[in-house]
């Protein structure tokens, strides 16, 4: 059986204790989406400011509010760090890449191989050994996708 140390890496606990980009953005101009994890009652809201920069849609700002367990909160915090300032296309690639990391099949198979660095997010790899927690780790990401699509 995988040990808890695989799950609760120090960097994860750090993001949990001091979440980055917490808060809200005024809607509009920002867009937002809410996500639920019915298993544990977690609720998350992702706020996104998307702006055109040189003809490219860019996530110029991101904030996250809501409550959740260490995995969902740290995943949300890392996600916010990773996507802030990135072009939307790159953000979508990152979502696919992250889902690949979580062993979730992505629609277009090749996408998971896209070369986007995961950085801190690699620390969430251990979650895969605890399948129940995969939903915690992906909550923020699914909500992000919803916000992008909205």
């Amino acid at each position: 059986m995988p040990g808890l140390e695989d799950l609760y890496r120090e960097i994860i606990l750090d993001h949990y204790r001091t979440p980055r980009n917490r808060g809200e953005l005024p809607v509009p101009p920002a867009r937002h989406a809410e996500g639920h994890n019915p298993l544990c009652g977690d609720e998350i809201t992702v706020f996104l400011d998307v702006q055109q920069v040189d003809g490219v849609d860019v996530v110029s700002d991101v904030k996250v509010s809501g409550q959740g367990c260490s995995i969902s909160q740290s995943s949300a915090s890392m996600m916010s760090q990773a996507v802030k300032g990135k072009p939307v296309a790159e953000v979508r690639a990152l979502v696919r890449k992250f889902k690949g990391l979580m062993s979730i099949e992505v629609d277009d198979a090749g996408a998971a191989d896209v070369d986007v660095p995961l950085g801190d997010l690699e620390a969430l790899q251990g979650v895969v050994k605890f399948p129940v927690r995969i939903k915690c780790a992906t909550l923020a990401w699914n909500t992000l996708t919803q916000a992008l699509d909205s």
């Binding site: 059986m1 808890l4 609760y8 606990l13 544990c40 009652g41 260490s70």
Partner: protein
């Protein structure tokens, strides 16, 4: 009579299972209970030697199976002191049972603007069916509030019941452990001209149940929470009401006649049991009831009171202000369901860490989101005990919580 609780524990094969060399500490019986050999074997044996259709065929093994199926119905009726076995309708679970009542009784008896009274401690199974009726028929809902220690606040009950057609409430909260004053509530309902529907899911498995002493109109419960198999539950209802209700699910067995232009219904309980019933599951449900009777529900309740007292004391003494156990402290009015908050650690993380030592507790909203909002939380961790638990399980829980402190202590 003194019960050999170690022998009772030994009746449950899964509790002998070890994972990573440690025994299972099963503290999630409020969710679903484990099954004793007596139940597992009854089902096993039935499927190996006696499985046959119910009600429809004339040959011997079918007649025998029907007799055993109806015997299970009688056993369940006896277990809750129902006046007649015909007043027991088998459903797939308690949720279907509540939907049956809301849809069939409610559909026939409630009109737009009519009010149903619920409480702030209901399970979603006793909320959503009424919301659905609100959407389809325009009924209105009212809610009995709670006291600070998690009991029903009945100070204003008569006013709340004023004009109400049905009062549907839990006999025991699956979050707070609170046992409600069912007989008093049924009496108040009756005086107000409302019928009473008792969600007895958490109560029946752990207490002596007497629906006649309650003076209730309906009660529902599930086999899987009371040592029986999944896939079967029951409605008990007064015959007069059941008899007057329209059918719920249509199909075989529930009809007297079917023509191209319509149908007529069979008598209760067949009217509400369309299709092939949970046959093997009824055999198991009957065996579960007999198993519990062989121990005695007074004894079960006494055992759980003792264990609950021990758990409350152990956790409070060991963790003081670091732990908050929801619900009343007086074990006269609470069962062995203990939801708690621990050192700001998220319940999901608590459950994960406890699982490292095979301590099984549920983390989540326990299908009681309105109550969670009232408690001001998204989720709680919940330990719940049953007849097969003992003090060692509580000690394991208490020890395992230390592991959570180790990881998350510096929050």
């Amino acid at each position: 009579m003194t019960v050999d609780w170690a022998a009772v524990r030994a009746d449950f094969p899964i509790l002998q299972r070890e994972i990573d060399g440690r025994p299972l500490v099963y503290l999630d019986s409020g969710n679903t209970s484990q099954k004793p050999t007596q139940v597992i074997e009854a089902m096993n044996e039935f499927q190996r030697t006696s499985y046959a259709p119910i009600n429809r065929s004339a040959y011997r093994i079918a007649a025998e199976a029907t007799e055993r199926f109806e015997g299970a119905r009688s056993a369940v009726a006896r277990f809750i002191n129902a006046p007649s076995a015909d007043e027991i309708v088998f459903t797939k679970n308690a949720t279907e049972a509540l939907n049956l009542i809301a849809t069939s009784w409610g559909g026939a008896n409630l009109r737009a603007g009519d009010t149903v009274l619920l409480t702030h401690m209901e399970h979603h199974a006793n909320i959503v069916p009424w919301h659905m009726l609100a959407q389809s028929a325009g009924i209105e809902l009212r809610w009995v509030p709670l006291t600070a220690d998690g009991q029903l606040d009945v100070g204003d009950l008569d006013r709340l019941l004023d004009g109400v057609k049905a009062f549907s409430f839990t006999a025991m909260s699956n979050v707070l452990g609170t046992i409600t004053p069912v007989a008093m509530l049924c009496d108040a309902a009756r005086r107000a001209g409302a019928i009473s529907i008792v969600d007895a899911c958490q109560f029946v498995p752990h207490n002596v149940t007497d629906v006649q002493a309650w003076g209730a109109d309906f009660a529902v419960f599930s086999s899987h929470k009371m040592c029986g198999p999944s896939g079967i539950g029951a409605v008990w209802g007064r015959m007069e009401l059941l008899d007057a209700m329209p059918p719920y699910i249509g199909g075989g067995n529930m009809i007297a006649d079917v023509r191209l232009d319509g149908f007529t219904c069979a008598p209760v309980p067949a009217k509400f049991e369309a299709g092939t019933p949970p046959i093997t599951e009824a055999i198991g449900f009957g065996a579960a009831v007999e198993y519990l009777e062989s121990i005695g529900m007074h004894e079960v309740r006494r055992h759980e009171m003792e264990l609950t007292r021990y758990a409350l004391d152990t956790l409070n003494e060991r963790y003081g202000d670091d732990i908050t156990i929801h619900g009343p402290d007086n074990i006269e009015v609470r069962g062995g369901v203990m939801s708690f908050a621990f050192r700001d650690i998220h319940p999901h993380d608590i459950s994960q860490v406890l699982d490292e030592r095979n301590v099984c507790v549920r983390a989540g909203h326990h299908c009681a989101k309105p109550l969670m909002r009232l408690l001001g939380v998204n989720a709680t961790a919940r330990a719940s005990v049953y007849l097969y638990n003992d003090r060692s399980d509580i000690d394991e829980l208490a020890d395992a919580l230390d592991g959570a402190s180790d990881i998350f202590g510096v929050l």
